[in-house]
Symmetry: C2
Subunit: 294 residues, 2 copies
């Protein structure tokens, strides 16, 4: 881990043009995989969606639950929640043990996405791009809905305790709180805000981008893997290895999202993850390997 | 409880002018109390502030923690967090057992206050009034800071577990999640948004105001009292009585804030709370009684 971290620091001395800028997504690479792992991954995603759909029913008050339903399910899909379930299975757990944590993570990401797209008076108007959804609701309603998603995520988690694993759930809550809070995702969002010019164009310093990727995709995936490991009953050693694997995978994802698909940093992160994965050699690796595009 | 609830519904048939409109605060009435209860109440508030000050130190990244420190401590003081500690003591607990829950409640309220005052593009400009603080930071930073406070509150709570009371902490988290989330405070905020005209003037239907008071001050105080009771080791019966006492007190507070200081509803809420308080007759009642202006 020290190697990739120091490598990320060194990146600041390199010119961005040294890095290839071909955005691709992991989804594309999944078609190259054998059939079962892909289906396995899809079933993880489907289980989380089904769990959330049964939790966020459209009920009274409609003005509250209708926007929440819409905004949760229209947020861009990420690999964070499914990684949580995959990690749970990797340590020998059943996916239902981690389904609430995975759903909570999805809610946190949807809340972040919603608030990132609020039209605030000091925020430059978003450039029209296909990835930015239309605003079906007014900014005020979207603000409040995002505000409602976060405690709802914690509620789902807290309620999932059957009286036997309270301590694991609290541990998972500390992990999630830290990663979505001021020292994690919100720190990354601050940096993005500070680096955005008044015309809405992001100023791209490679070092700064890497710090954002660390705080955003890196730590979110790391947290997801840890939560899955904890709830699946993994040992401390397994959990710490999952923390590294998740972080590396998040870095690969985050770099790819910003156009860094190849290069030393991506290879280093992939190799580091593979090395840690060897520890789990006798266990279910397919789903995790899909993430690493192996 | 049924009586006051049905009474609140009946209120809609009354004309607002039947109700006296003299705003006062409980703080004013506290000067009429004997010395010790007042000091006791002040010491509860001071303990919560000290706990939060030691938790939110101004550290790196400064751009994150400096606004959080400012926005938490500049939010208007409420009686919710101290009620949590008072309830804990009422059931025989030590206040340190509930200090994290009280701090989390303060953070949730500060986050709500911060987001309520964000200048959104669809939100009418706030009328200048002394209660509305100056915006020291930009809207984007205030949005993110509010977003950071909520998970930080849950983190404080989750970390407060010494391994002995995990189940109580999870129970408290469910209570807090529900009351600050979409079926509680956020529902009240929606109603307020919907009832605000384009010039920023609130449309005041008494029935609607009462529903907001129920969801906002009523349920927040109810939740605070329950959390204190749970963490102080209260019995189920004590906890349910605290739920009613807290709700009644919140209703009195919320009605007073909106100019309804006297009248049947206020008296009924006070009497209901006093009736429930009789159950605790051998215990420490001073702090709670201050709240009820007895």
């Amino acid at each position: 881990m020290a190697a990739i971290t120091s490598h990320l620091a060194i990146l600041s001395n390199q010119h961005p043009s040294h890095l290839q800028l071909k955005p691709t997504t992991v989804r594309m690479s999944m078609t190259q995989q054998t059939r079962n792992p892909r289906l396995h991954w899809a079933s993880l995603q489907a289980d989380i969606e089904a769990h959330l759909k049964s939790s966020i029913t459209i009920k009274q008050p409609l003005e509250v639950f209708e926007p929440m339903h819409h905004l949760v399910f229209s947020a861009p899909e990420t690999t964070v929640p499914a990684l949580c379930l995959a990690a749970c299975e990797l340590v020998g757990g059943q996916r239902h043990q981690a389904i609430s944590a995975a759903s909570a993570l999805l809610l946190m990401e949807a809340a972040t996405y919603t608030h990132e797209h609020l039209p605030l008076t000091d925020r430059p108007k978003a450039k029209p791009e296909p990835a930015v959804k239309n605003h079906v609701f007014g900014p005020n309603v979207e603000l409040l809905t995002g505000d409602g998603m976060v405690p709802f995520g914690f509620e789902l988690l807290a309620r999932s305790d059957g009286g036997e694993n309270s301590e694991q759930i609290l541990r998972v809550m500390v992990e999630i709180s830290r990663v979505v809070g001021s020292t994690g995702v919100i720190d990354a969002q601050y940096r993005k805000t500070m680096d955005t010019r008044s015309d809405g164009e992001e100023v791209c310093h490679v070092e700064e981008i890497m710090r954002m990727v660390e705080k955003y995709e890196g730590e979110l995936h790391s947290c997801a893997a840890v939560c899955g490991g904890v709830l699946g009953g993994g040992s401390e050693d397994e959990i710490e290895r999952l923390r590294k694997i998740g972080f590396c995978f998040g870095m690969i994802q985050g770099m790819a999202k910003r156009g860094f698909n190849e290069g030393n940093e991506v290879n280093e992160a992939r190799n580091l993850a593979l090395q840690e994965l060897k520890f789990f050699k006798d266990k279910e690796l397919d789903a995790i390997k899909i993430l690493l595009n192996i």
